[in-house]
């Protein structure tokens, strides 16, 4: 470490040169280089599957590259380079799925992986000192499982900082946060990078807005290739979207989807939905199977021919609310109206929607199998599956294909197609595009809009506020078990998700709702 005073002359905090990584025949990374300058925030952008996380896993020593080199602060990392080496040299990574032990305290989690004796008092004072220094305040004695998601994320970062991390990799850190929490995190990221010339942050994200707001430099990956890189001033939302999607692939439809997702429209008050009430909740209280009250007060209506979006921070009661609406959970109090033919698409398709090792025909038969009797008409079911695959553009080897062999996007298309197969009168979907790439997401959104246009009452929950705004005609915000209808504006919804509901936003919404319903006052009487 020679004394280099000017920041511009410092070696890159993290440099990857010509990194190549193959999985079997698939080239996940093809000759990718990345320079993270000291004292900066570097945004790594790309669609799902573009290779962002793979690249960072190589940098952190979790994957050995097939070619290329890595250096930290100008010093090459010679193989075998392990996460232990990476951490010893001041590189830390916070994964999208946290690696915390829920039953342990914050202090115990911070101490995990360290050598020697566990001294509770000493670790607690470390946690407090980090809180004082960086603003990431946590109670060292709190059980991690009891903390909200945003605090768990703070705990992950504090864990890294406790090991004196100078270069921090954050994998999709804002995906689980409410907008205001996300803003706070991005401000912290900026401050961390600015606080010391040896600090740097790599921000893996697919949110153009976040990248443009906080980063100094941006690198864009597409299908394992670096397609754009440079200082943030060179880019706009449109040029970044172009780079992520590729010029040859970018159809006008996808283009519209980009605009919709990233620049929310004004409230669609003009789209008067006068369909009949299909889903209706009145002062509903829901307890989960363990008897914990998850929903305290929900009153709303979803009419035929409209998409109602539900916005909420993780753990606000949406899980129970959606399942009660789908007829899978009883209500403890209040009145809930839901048709018997309601279709439900749960967020975790592997756990809750598919028999992964069974054929698609058997997966079609699974729908409402509890209500069937006698022999199953396998021949008819197979024909219907084949028809479904071609009608809904599900790419599979055929009706006998095993569900596990389909790509995530095609699995989700199949799950949606199955839900819509019997022409239900209502559709409830939960995080319908989780883990899907851009094109698959657009296809799912199109299917939701088509369902609405066919006269279904559609209720969509998404943890991504932009998705709610992109597909919903009306928006409900759920905070701590209470549902409010709010104006379809990003800021208003974002605040309502955190429990800040101003009288103005509600009153305004009620006027709008009232106005749209006046033509049919007799419908509810």
């Amino acid at each position: 470490m020679a004394a280099l005073s000017a920041p511009a002359e410092r070696p890159a905090a993290l440099a990857l040169r010509g990194v190549t990584k193959r999985f079997g025949d698939v080239v996940a990374l093809d000759d990718v280089s990345l320079d993270v300058r000291a004292g900066t925030v570097h945004a790594l952008l790309g669609e799902n599957g573009a290779g962002k996380s793979t690249l960072m896993r190589v940098a952190f020593g979790l994957l050995a590259p097939d070619g290329g080199s890595i250096s930290l602060a100008g010093v090459p990392c010679t193989p075998p380079f392990t996460p232990r080496d990476a951490m010893a040299r001041g590189l830390g990574m916070v994964h999208q799925h946290f690696s915390l032990v829920a039953a342990m305290t914050v202090a115990e989690n911070v101490a995990l992986g360290a050598a020697g004796r566990y001294d509770a008092a000493k670790v607690a004072s470390t946690v407090r000192a980090i809180g004082d220094r960086t603003g990431l305040v946590l109670d060292p004695a709190a059980r991690v499982g009891d903390l909200p998601v945003s605090a768990q994320q703070r705990c992950e970062i504090v864990k890294a900082l406790a090991r004196d991390v100078r270069v921090l990799i954050l994998d999709e850190p804002t995906a689980v946060l409410a907008p205001d929490e996300a803003q706070a995190l991005l401000r912290w990221v900026r401050a961390f990078a600015d606080s010391d010339p040896s600090h740097a942050v790599v921000l893996i994200t697919h949110k153009l807005r976040d990248a443009l707001a906080v980063a100094d430099d941006i690198t864009v990956l597409r299908r394992g290739v670096r397609v754009a890189h440079g200082p943030v001033a060179q880019f706009t939302e449109a040029s970044l979207a172009d780079a992520m999607l590729g010029p040859g692939e970018r159809s006008s439809r996808v283009d519209a989807e980009v605009r919709e997702a990233h620049t929310p429209r004004a409230p669609a008050a003009d789209q008067a939905r006068e369909g009949r009430d299909v889903l209706h909740a009145h002062q509903v209280v829901i307890r989960d199977t363990e008897g914990i009250t998850r929903v305290r007060d929900a009153s709303f209506t979803v009419h035929a021919g409209e998409i109602v979006g539900l916005a909420a921070v993780e753990g606000s009661g949406q899980h129970a609310l959606l399942r009660a609406m789908a007829g899978l959970l009883p209500v403890a109090a209040g009145r809930l109206q839901s048709p018997t033919d309601v279709a439900f698409v749960p967020e975790d398709r592997h756990r809750d929607a598919l028999l992964l090792d069974a054929s698609l025909t058997e997966n079609l038969a699974l729908r409402d199998a509890g209500r069937r009797s006698g022999q199953l008409p396998w021949r008819t079911l197979a024909e219907r599956t084949t028809a479904l695959l071609s009608a809904r553009d599900v790419r599979a080897a055929g009706a006998t294909a095993i569900a596990r062999t389909l790509s995530g996007g095609n699995q989700q298309k199949f799950v949606l197609a199955r839900a819509l197969d019997d022409a239900p009168s209502a559709l409830i979907v939960e995080n319908p595009t989780r883990g899907l790439d851009f094109r698959a997401t657009a296809a799912v959104h199109d299917a939701l809009r088509a369902a609405r246009d066919a006269g279904l009452a559609v209720l969509v929950y998404s943890s991504d506020l932009d998705e709610v705004l992109a597909v919903a005609d009306r928006v409900l915000a759920l905070h701590d078990g209470v549902v409010h209808e709010v104006a379809r504006e990003r800021d208003t919804v974002g605040r309502a998700m955190l429990g800040v509901v101003s009288d103005a936003s509600i009153a305004n919404t009620e006027r709008v709702t009232f106005a749209t319903r006046t033509p049919s006052p007799g419908a509810s009487a």
């Binding site: 749960p346 756990r351 809750d352 038969a365 409402d368 199998a369 006698g374 199953l376």
Partner: protein
């Protein structure tokens, strides 16, 4: 459809051939290592298992019957995602209940006595499995643990019965009185010991196979076994109900095995009525990949191995433990092979 059926038939035959080949290979290796002459030992084994019509029917097939019935019991439970390790205990309780009915009211019932004895065995097996089902559903007790424990309870219950209430009149031997001819299962071929339990096992295997692949309730069983969450969420299946019913049906099959063994082979209740059929059944079911028809094949294979093993011990002085080692090796090989194929197909 027919093409895939053909493929699965070919696959099943290939599999059975592979199993037999693997068995012989492992056995020869073990014999060499332990210093026995493989040719002498193997000749004794083949003679004991299939060397004559009598050996095939009275040694191999007679052993295959309880293995098939308990194998179906285990296959059904595993298919539903229930690790029922209690076939042995359910078999013993089936035999005990059957003996109790025959010993008390049997004589007065005439021709009805035998069917009633079998049904009592079925009910007792189901009830014994029901205890584990209740513990699982009500208190979340893992069925692996409860069924193993209940095996011991069943074993010692039989021990008490044959020294107490059900002991034969002279009070000398720890066993029940011998069953009169009238309540014994009819023989399939005179001159052999092969009884109609074989027909029962084959019919049940075919019935279970058809039920699982064709009916809505059979499909629910498979769906719950594969993924209870999706079964509840998408299938709106009452998972607890399906699990309990599957557990009862599974126990019923083992209970029937006990009643059949009592009325077809031993003709009396005693502690060593089963040489661990209920445990070998796990291997039988796993090697058949839980397929009811496959269970018939693997039950015959294990029946032959045990019959041949006895002959080998008698004629070539090779301890039968060697055969048990081979059985265990087979299971490990097959499970490892299945995992490997699954991993390969998941990657493709």
């Amino acid at each position: 459809m027919s093409a895939t059926h053909q493929a699965s038939w070919v696959g099943a035959v290939q599999r059975l051939a592979l199993l037999v080949g693997g068995t012989v290979f492992a056995l020869v290796l073990l014999l060499l290592v332990t210093g026995h002459d493989p040719s002498v030992a193997l000749r004794a084994l083949v003679r004991g298992a299939v060397g004559s019509w009598y050996a095939f029917t009275s040694a191999t097939l007679v052993r295959a019957i309880p293995l098939a019935l308990t194998g179906l019991c285990v296959a059904l439970a595993f298919r539903a995602g229930l690790l029922n390790i209690g076939a042995e205990g359910q078999l013993l309780m089936g035999a005990a209940a059957s003996a109790a009915v025959l010993g008390t009211v049997g004589a007065s019932l005439g021709a009805l006595a035998l069917p009633l004895a079998l049904l009592t065995g079925v009910a007792a097996g189901a009830a014994w499995a029901g205890v584990a089902a209740l513990l699982r559903q009500r208190f979340g007790v893992l069925e692996v643990i409860s069924t193993i424990m209940l095996n011991f309870v069943a074993l010692y219950t039989v021990g008490w019965l044959v020294r107490g209430p059900l002991q034969e009149p002279t009070g000398i031997y720890p066993q029940s009185a011998s069953l009169p001819k009238a309540v014994q299962l009819p023989l399939l071929w005179t001159g052999t010991r092969l009884h109609v339990g074989l027909v029962l096992a084959v019919l049940l295997a075919i019935g279970l196979w058809w039920w699982q692949r064709s009916t809505a309730s059979g499909f629910r069983l498979r769906a719950v076994g594969q993924n209870p969450h999706a079964s509840a969420t998408i299938g709106r299946i009452n998972v607890a109900r399906v699990s309990v019913l599957a557990f009862l049906a599974s126990g019923a099959l083992a209970g029937l095995a006990g009643a059949v063994e009592l009325t077809g082979v031993t003709f009396a209740l005693y502690e060593n009525l089963s040489p661990g059929y209920g445990y070998t059944a796990i291997a039988v079911a796993l090697l058949a990949r839980l397929h009811p028809l496959g269970v018939l094949g693997t039950a015959a294979l294990f029946g032959a191995l045990q019959a041949g093993g006895n002959a080998m011990q008698r004629d070539a002085a090779v301890p039968i433990a060697l055969v048990n080692v081979v059985e265990a090796l087979l299971i490990l090989l097959v499970i490892a092979g299945d995992r490997l194929t699954a991993a390969r197909s998941a990657r493709a």
